[in-house]
Every structure is written in structure tokens, then in C-alpha cells.
């Protein structure tokens, strides 16, 4: 299989662009604030992590347009036939809200295909395009699919773009499920009590490493392993024994041709719900045994950006590898007993080795990605 390189990574979050987000995380800043976009009175939370500066450019269009303005303010260097994999859970759902309330809005923005179509239009892409729907692992699955296409010689490069909004639709829904925390989320905390919604977008350009070297592209990281697996247990809740996440992680290790011992740290899904975080800690123990692999979660600062979260976190993995740092798990005060020694509320040096990024979603969907520094060979050695 060919080596897959990450040659471009961008993100737009409540803390700003990728660099601002990374610096903010290291400094312990949070993008979670009282939501003002709609009236959250009656919901069990009033907190969300919204991207600053989003505005409706024209009546009836989705705020996703404004988010894409920020993400695509400078076009990446691409050939027109570069395949595009987009990932989103609800696309322009804010327009559905407007249509339902006022009878006004652009219906095409509501379709999940809208993200791929709009991105292709802005970047003049004419090749293969897909929109991946994998619940909260949508972007992670899109990255896994992109990497597989390149590794198996089906594409020289693939662009992955993901985005999701904080919307009244989703906010009231998670409130109705009683899954929101009344206060900002506390991932892996002993007193965690739910998630905080967030929004954002990310872009990653993956390329066959040899091609990237020929084109003299900067190589930010290697995407060395990937895996997708299903719990087959419940339509919304994760399997308590973490079977699906364990399988996804093991698949990613197999693809990478490496062992659990070579994983240096984990960028976890870490939503802050009682069951998700417990499942993840169980799964990590199932794969890594008693070895204390450092675990980090960013959703205590960036909120849970649904289908975009995996892409944002993957982009941040490139920053972690570049700077050799694991950011703090913001929102964490007292670790869950199962997370003692694993999760921290302060930044630490990133140990040498592979960086695992995991995401899980409704429908028992789990996905895992393994990143390495560009100069790292299989087995974790530099």
C-alpha cells in the first residue's frame, strides 16, 4: 500500500482558525459561551461553542456558506479532478428551520449533498464527489475512505471537507434526549453530565507521499492507519464494552502494520457524556491494557461539532505532532477513576510514537485514525 501524507490541514472553530484554535487549546482557552443564535429557554443547557463572525450573506441561505467563506478563504492548490469527500450530519439544517417557521429558505442548502456541491463550485472541482454520513464519526470515516483510496492506488490525492452548525434543531434534540450538560462539558471528569454542542469545519488534503514529494508539498503528517467498525448494539447508546471502538482501533493498527505499544497518545472523542467517556476508557484499556497512554479530549473547549468533529480533531493532530505537545483536556477537574493517569487538564509533551484519533456516533459507528510524524517509519521509530 502507498504511504498517505497530509499536505494541508485547516479548521474553523469557536476559537478561530486552526492556528488560533491550537494556541487557544494550549493556553487553556474555551470557545464555549451562552448561545445567542436562538432562544434556548426551556432547554436543559444554554451553552454552545459557536464560530464567531458567521453571518447570513443572503436571505434564505445557510450559515454554512459563511463558515465555508472562512474555511476556503484561500483556495488549496488542487487539480480540478481531485476527488472530494465531504462529511456532515445536518448540513444547512438552519434553513429547514427557516422554511418550517417562515416558509422561506433555499431548500438545496438543507440537502447533505449541499456541502460537497458548494465546495466543488468554489474550488472548481469536477471529479468524484461523495458526502459521507456516519453520525459523529462522519469526518473520520471520510478521512479513512480517502486514505484507503490513495493507499490502494485509486487516487493520487483526495480532499476531505467537513462542517456542521450549532442549530436549534440539534440543540433542542439533544436537550430532549437529556444528553446536554447544564454547564460546559467536562470530558472524562468524574462529575461529567453531558455534552456541549459546538460547530466548525475542517479541510484536509491527503496525497500519496511520493506525489507530495515530487510536488514539493509540505508534509504535515502521515495517515498510517484507519479503521471503521460497528457495535451492532443500540441505535444511540455506545456498547458498554467498547467492542466497536476496540475493533476500529485494532483495524487501524492492522492497516498501519503496527502494534498497540507503538501508540504514544490518544485524541479521544470525549463528549462528556457519562456513557461515551466510560465506553472509551473501557475500549482503551481493552486495546492498551494497563499501559497508561495519555488521552486528550478537545470538546470541553470546542464543543461537539457533530460530523465535523473528527476532521477538526484530525487537523489538530497535525498540530500536536508538529509541536510535540498534547493539549489539556479543558473542562476536566477531577478525572474519572478509570481515567486517572490518562487524562490531564494541563498540556504535556507528546511522547514519541503514533497518535491515535477516535470518534464514535449514533448507530454504533466507530472510527479510528493513526497519525505519525512525516519522518516516522512503521513501528513508531523515527
Amino acid at each position: 500500500m502507498r504511504t498517505v501524507a497530509v499536505v494541508e490541514a485547516r479548521a474553523v472553530t469557536a476559537l478561530g482558525d486552526l492556528d488560533a484554535t491550537w494556541r487557544g487549546l494550549l493556553a487553556g482557552r474555551t470557545g464555549i459561551a451562552p448561545v445567542t443564535r436562538f432562544d434556548a429557554t426551556g432547554c436543559i443547557s444554554r451553552w454552545a461553542a459557536c464560530v464567531p463572525g458567521l453571518e447570513r450573506k443572503s436571505s434564505g441561505r445557510s450559515l454554512l456558506m459563511s463558515m465555508l467563506d472562512q474555511l476556503l478563504d484561500a483556495s488549496p492548490i488542487l487539480s480540478a479532478d481531485t476527488p472530494l469527500l465531504a462529511a456532515t450530519t445536518k448540513a444547512g439544517i438552519d434553513v429547514l428551520e427557516s422554511i418550517a417557521r417562515h416558509g422561506r429558505g433555499s431548500k438545496e442548502d438543507v440537502s447533505p449533498s449541499f456541502l460537497a456541491d458548494e465546495t466543488c463550485r468554489r474550488l472548481d472541482l469536477c471529479g468524484r464527489r461523495e458526502t459521507v454520513s456516519g453520525a459523529c464519526a462522519s469526518a473520520t470515516i471520510a478521512l479513512a475512505r480517502a486514505a484507503a483510496l490513495i493507499a490502494h492506488g485509486k487516487a493520487e490525492s483526495v480532499l476531505v471537507v467537513c462542517a456542521d452548525l450549532v442549530s436549534e434543531f440539534v440543540f433542542t434534540g439533544f436537550s430532549a434526549l437529556r444528553a446536554l450538560s447544564p454547564e460546559p462539558a467536562k470530558p472524562f471528569d468524574a462529575r461529567r453530565d453531558g455534552l456541549t454542542l459546538g460547530e466548525g469545519a475542517a479541510l484536509m488534503l491527503l496525497m500519496a507521499e511520493k506525489r507530495a514529494q515530487t510536488e514539493e508539498r509540505p508534509i504535515l503528517a502521515r495517515l498510517t492507519g484507519w479503521g471503521v467498525a460497528n457495535d451492532a448494539t443500540h441505535i444511540t447508546a455506545p456498547a458498554r464494552n467498547g467492542c466497536g471502538l476496540i475493533a476500529a482501533i485494532n483495524r487501524s493498527l492492522t492497516v498501519a502494520g503496527t502494534r498497540p505499544d507503538d501508540v504514544a497518545a490518544i485524541c479521544a472523542h470525549g463528549t462528556g457524556t457519562v456513557y461515551n467517556d466510560a465506553m472509551e476508557l473501557t475500549a482503551f484499556r481493552g486495546v492498551f491494557g494497563e499501559r497508561q497512554v495519555p488521552v486528550n479530549g478537545v470538546k470541553g473547549a470546542l464543543g461537539h461539532a457533530m460530523g465535523a468533529s473528527g476532521g477538526i480533531e484530525a487537523a489538530l493532530c497535525c498540530c500536536m505532532l508538529a509541536d510535540g505537545m498534547l493539549p489539556p483536556t479543558i473542562g476536566l477537574s477531577e478525572p474519572d477513576p478509570a481515567g486517572v493517569g490518562l487524562v490531564r487538564n494541563e498540556p504535556i509533551p507528546l511522547p514519541e510514537g503514533l497518535l491515535l484519533s477516535t470518534n464514535s456516533g449514533f448507530g454504533g459507528i466507530n472510527a479510528a485514525l493513526l497519525f505519525s510524524k512525516p519522518e516516522q517509519t512503521a513501528g513508531g521509530a523515527a
Binding site: S113, S133, G134, T172, N230, D231, H234, I365
Partner: protein, 250 residues
């Protein structure tokens, strides 16, 4: 790499169908109501599923029944489906409750406002523990799901994939009369099938799904057209597995 089609199943306006014994046609007419007992001996949640889930599950059940397969299918079994409207009908139903106030927003409906709800149900019913996802297309009943399934098999990520499409139109949303229904194929690696009867072989020619007919490789343009061609291909020689009847679901 060639992959064998070992099962075909669907729910269309004409009703449930499978393989070659039923006539297949996809029209814009309304879907018939699907009853739990048509698909499962037991299914504790069936009555609470939304139309999109029931429709998708119907196609999956019929395809697996046609292939003579029952669950749990395990870690080498996955799912890839395409949809155009996805769960839009349920989205509208859910938001109608949310507009009455957060206290009246329906958690039961919200749980079905992801297109991957059919993934969840199919995975639970048949123990699909491999790679699963839904892919969106602007037009219904395309081949993106089949292509993704073929890639999963080619890349060694699975040995059996449920591949197909599901669409349930939302009333008063679209001016066009797009068909509603679900169509699924059971795709298996040659190694797994090991001489069992199959409808035909599928392969990928770059990004295009190709019917690897003995006479010629034919590029396929839509899932309904592919089903019609598979129905009319000569059968292979090996005997089929014994068909299963109604299925208990966890």
C-alpha cells in the same frame, strides 16, 4: 477484483420482493405499509421506527433472505447505502414538535434524524460489525453505495457487504415525483461464496461499477437498471443456500 452478488431485495410501491421470483420496478407511487410480521418473527422496536428506517430495513431483510443468510454476520460484514432525501421526512416531523417549545421536542423522533438510523437497525438485527456508512447523492437510487461496498471488499475491509439505496420522499418538499423505496444487494467476496450460486459479478472500472457479464463488461448507471440486468443474467451452476423465512431480531 470481482465480487459476487448473492442476494437482491427491495421494497417498492409494488411491495416487497427478492431475487428473480418477483418482478422489480421502481415508480413514484406511494409505498405500501410494511408490517413487522412480513420481515421479522419478532422485533421489539419495529412499531417505533420511522418510515425511512422501516423502508431501508425491508430492503435489507429481503436481500439477506434471498441470499439465504441470517445474522449475526460478524466483523467481516458491513453496510454502505446511498440516499438522496435521507431522513428529511423525519426531520420535518421532529422540528414540528420542537417548534412547539423545547419541552415538547420529541426525543423519539430526534433519535431518527440521522440518515445512519438504517445502519443502526440493520447492524443490530444482523450483527453487522464491519465498516458501515451512508453516502448522499443528489439523485436517488444511484450506485455510490454499491461502489463504496465494492471498494470495502477490494481493500480487504470486509468479506460481505449490504449495498444499496433507500429513499423516502418528504411530502410537500420537492416538486418532483422521485421514487421511494429501498433496494439492496448482498455482495460477497469470491472466497466467501465458494461456488454458491450468484446472480453475477460486479467490479470497479476506475470509479464506475461494472457488471462483469461473461459476454461483456457493462458500465452501470443506476441501481434499478443494475437490478434488472442481474435478474436477467443466466444463473451460475452451484446450488443456492436454503432460503430463510421470517427473522427474529434482537
Amino acid at each position: 477484483m470481482s465480487v459476487l452478488v448473492t442476494g437482491i431485495g427491495w421494497l417498492t410501491s409494488a411491495g416487497l420482493g427478492q431475487g428473480r421470483k418477483d418482478s422489480f420496478a421502481l415508480t413514484g407511487n406511494a409505498l405500501p405499509e410494511v408490517r413487522r410480521q412480513d420481515l421479522f418473527a419478532e422485533h421489539p422496536r419495529f412499531g417505533r421506527l420511522d418510515a425511512y428506517c422501516k423502508t431501508g430495513l425491508a430492503g435489507v431483510v429481503m436481500a439477506l433472505r434471498d441470499a439465504g443468510l441470517d445474522g449475526p454476520l460478524g466483523e467481516t460484514a458491513g453496510f454502505a447505502a446511498t440516499t438522496s432525501a435521507g431522513c428529511l421526512r423525519t426531520d420535518l416531523d421532529y422540528f414540528a414538535t420542537a417548534m412547539q417549545g423545547p419541552a415538547l421536542a420529541s426525543p423519539n423522533l430526534f433519535a431518527f434524524t440521522l440518515p445512519t438510523s438504517i445502519v443502526a437497525e440493520a447492524a443490530i438485527c444482523f450483527g453487522l460489525r464491519g465498516p458501515t456508512c451512508v453516502l448522499h447523492e443528489p439523485q436517488p437510487f444511484g450506485l455510490t453505495g454499491v461502489r463504496a461496498a465494492l471498494e470495502a471488499l477490494e481493500f480487504g475491509e470486509a468479506e460481505i457487504m449490504l449495498a444499496g439505496a433507500c429513499d423516502v420522499s418528504a411530502p410537500n418538499w420537492s416538486c418532483s415525483q422521485d421514487p421511494s423505496g429501498s433496494v439492496f444487494l448482498v455482495l460477497e467476496s469470491e472466497r466467501r461464496v465458494q461456488g454458491r450460486q450468484a446472480y453475477g459479478c460486479l467490479a470497479l472500472d476506475e470509479d464506475t461499477v461494472v457488471l462483469d457479464a461473461k459476454s461483456s463488461d457493462e458500465r452501470q448507471s443506476s441501481l434499478p437498471d443494475l437490478v434488472l440486468k442481474l435478474q436477467n443474467l443466466p444463473t451460475a451452476n452451484a446450488p443456492r443456500r436454503k432460503p430463510v423465512g421470517s427473522t427474529p431480531c434482537a
